[in-house]
Subunit: 439 residues, 2 copies
């Protein structure tokens, strides 16, 4: 888990641009890069900022050790002058951003990185990797947790995604409202509560299903979760309660018509006196399947594939764009707003942005206001961005539970239609304003 | 990049099942687990096995060091007897599988893990993580490389996926037919050729586009690739050739109607005498967009988002199922085929499988034949699985270029319709046969 440096998680052109800018004398121009999306994934009502804490770790660990420098030299990726510059690299600039767990909308400046062009351009790839992945998972998790209401969600997707993406996915899922994970690495790295049930292989290993249940209960106690759909569910539930007694913790159902089976199993458990035995369902659940089980006697959902693949949207479209840079390399050189302007689309708005969420009289959010220049006084205390790194030092590390609570609060502050699962427009409109400085 | 151990990339239930089986005396029963999919992603004609090499690394590095054991003890995940057992864990069994790069179909036993239940069950999560992720990316890459024909494909997706998933994605893309990657970590770790162009930020950093081009050419030489769509493409192409001369390496177009713009830029470059200057296109390409540019004067494609997200299918549905286990723990105990049998679906076929690809008289594949029991003599030399690990020792490590060539050959051996991009059925039917042993 200890990645020694994050500096190689970088596209080659960041380094060749650095080399060219060093030679041209433009590398030290003060620069402002912003991370934002032009749109939400089709039909989504809001986005969820996740990965910020991992970005802070990545910025801190972004340095070029001997092994990396040797590789860059051997492959002639950049010249000796650039290698010398890289050998001393430590980010010394500032990072501002939406706090992790906050919601975002098209155009929201979810992160802003300021410093010399040279030190900021290098961070593009790894910052986008983290925010694009983690925010996609957190958005799916948030929809699922809306759909689940008060019932807990267990993250079980490790086997469906890259082994380290899985750990980040557990973290993002927790932010989005999940309660626990099956992934031990996520427990180890982020202290997320871990849980486990049992697999069909365990039943099949034993001579009979009853033998398997007895082995599990003998070792793990009656509070364990028994998997009851290897052979016949009704027989399995009967055997489970006989073996474990009516204090059996839970049964898991992993196939079939979950709505129907959950009702039958609940009735059978109640008849057997196991009124407190819980029912956990799994089996390719997504937010729609979870919602459809709202009226079923289900106590917890285990979600795998659809969580770690972002429920149809496995990445966000966040970009990292230069929006302003100094006229020259001097420390006092004035900033010039810049933006791509070709007719082919992908244009953006130049200048350093502020962002605020305007609320109505009842305190419900009604617009994401994004501006350049002065912040209108009535929005001064509604600003969204906070300092994350100052002069190269991380200033905003926080526990994951704080982030998780922030997300729940941010979502609760949106109009009710935010949690509709059906496709729609972003639940807040984005408004752009420009108040000249000093006006 | 040096993950000290892969043992925590594991779902908690693998460890609790181990504990229960140790106590019940069933943990040492010889077991056969198989990895397979019940179906291909909707519409896909074939799957691509990728990640095998990474699985071998993961199996080798799967051990429980002090830090992990302490975590498991503190969280009371398993009992002391199980912790003792884990402390000495080294996989000592056998792994067979389709060689990496081979194609697969529903039911293909792409990997088989044999040993005691205890030692095999622990590997489930990490093996599936790797194969499900890497095979999904390789399948998308293979379709894109079919569509691109002889034109090279550059993998540029690092910023759209988890930073370490990106490295595995570069590797899988290379297997599927890509030529190079922008991801330095993939070059460092897997020696995949790395390339870089330039970003809009570099143009915007400079006072004029011409200044930016001059800075880039001065530093990187005329053979560089200039990005020409920051402002006006026609003016940019004119400036690019003026600055670099007709020996300019390439121009990159990242927005707009690529078909139209590529034709215009080619004509302009030719008129300016830059007949050898290549055109690289990027901008949310997938296999369909690549195919639609087949008649355009494009020399290379850069692909990001759609590659690393598996072009609509970011994971496979590979499962790891116990298909046979010994009647008892003794070394000579006979194997019993086992399979889940509930009515809810997800059933599978018990018993250790062999697999062979039957060909017609012209040598073209015509069926994926999967069987239990004896291999029919006419298929004996068409078998697909090879030994990967014997007695815990990896026996089949191979260079990535061998894997890449194998994939190209395997795809070329399929019926022509395999490379149709439109949705359809798997291009080979799966046939199951059972010849009793000794028949």
């Amino acid at each position: 888990m200890n990645v020694p440096s994050t500096a190689l998680f970088t596209d080659q052109y960041e380094l060749t641009m650095l080399q060219a800018a060093l030679k041209a004398g433009t590398a030290e121009r003060h620069s402002v890069f912003e991370v934002f999306t032009r749109r939400l994934p089709h039909g989504r009502r809001y986005g969820v900022v996740a990965g910020t804490g991992r970005v802070l770790d990545a910025v801190e660990n972004f340095r070029f050790d001997e092994g990396l420098l040797r590789f860059l030299r051997e492959k002639a990726v950049v010249d000796e002058e650039t290698l010398d510059w890289l050998a001393g690299y430590r980010f010394s600039g500032d990072v501002w951003g939406y706090p992790e767990g906050e919601v975002y909308f098209p155009g929201s400046p979810v992160m802003r990185v300021e410093g010399s062009f040279a030190e900021c351009v290098l961070l593009e790839t790894v910052i986008l990797s983290i925010l694009n992945h983690d925010s996609a998972i957190a958005a799916a998790a948030s929809r699922m947790s809306s759909a689940a209401g008060d019932r807990p969600l267990i993250e079980m997707g490790a086997r469906r995604t890259h082994e380290l993406a899985a750990v980040a996915a557990s973290r993002a899922a927790y932010i989005g409202g999940f309660s626990s994970t099956s992934d031990l690495a996520a427990g180890f790295r982020y202290n997320i509560p871990t849980v486990g049930t049992s697999a069909h292989a365990f039943t099949l290993l034993h001579d009979t299903e009853r033998d398997a249940f007895r082995a599990q209960v003998d070792s793990l106690g009656a509070g364990t979760t028994l998997l009851v759909d290897t052979y016949d569910v009704t027989e399995a539930v009967r055997a489970a309660v006989e073996v474990a007694g009516p204090g059996l913790g839970a049964v898991r159902i992993d196939s079939g018509d979950l709505l129907l089976v959950a009702h039958r199993v609940r009735q059978q458990l109640d008849e057997l006196g196991a009124r407190d035995t819980k029912i956990v369902v799994t089996s390719d659940l997504d937010e729609y399947a979870i919602a459809s089980l709202a009226a079923a006697p289900v106590d917890a959902y285990g979600v795998g594939t659809q969580l770690v693949t972002g429920s149809g949207h496995p990445t966000c479209s966040m970009v990292y764009k230069l929006v302003a840079r100094a006229e020259s390399a001097g420390p006092e050189a004035p900033l010039v707003p810049v933006a791509k302007k070709s007719t082919g689309g992908k244009t953006s708005i130049g200048g350093r942005k502020w962002a605020a969420r305007r609320r109505d009289a009842d305190g419900v959010a009604e617009a994401e206001v994004i501006g350049t220049g002065e912040v209108p006084p009535e929005l001064a205390d509604r600003q969204l961005t906070v300092p994350l790194v100052r002069g190269g030092e991380v200033v905003a590390r926080e526990p994951l539970d704080v982030v998780r609570d922030r997300h729940a609060a941010a979502r609760a502050g949106l109009p009710l239609s935010a949690t509709q699962l059906s496709r729609g427009e972003p639940v807040l409109p984005t408004e752009y304003v420009h108040l000249p400085s000093g006006s």
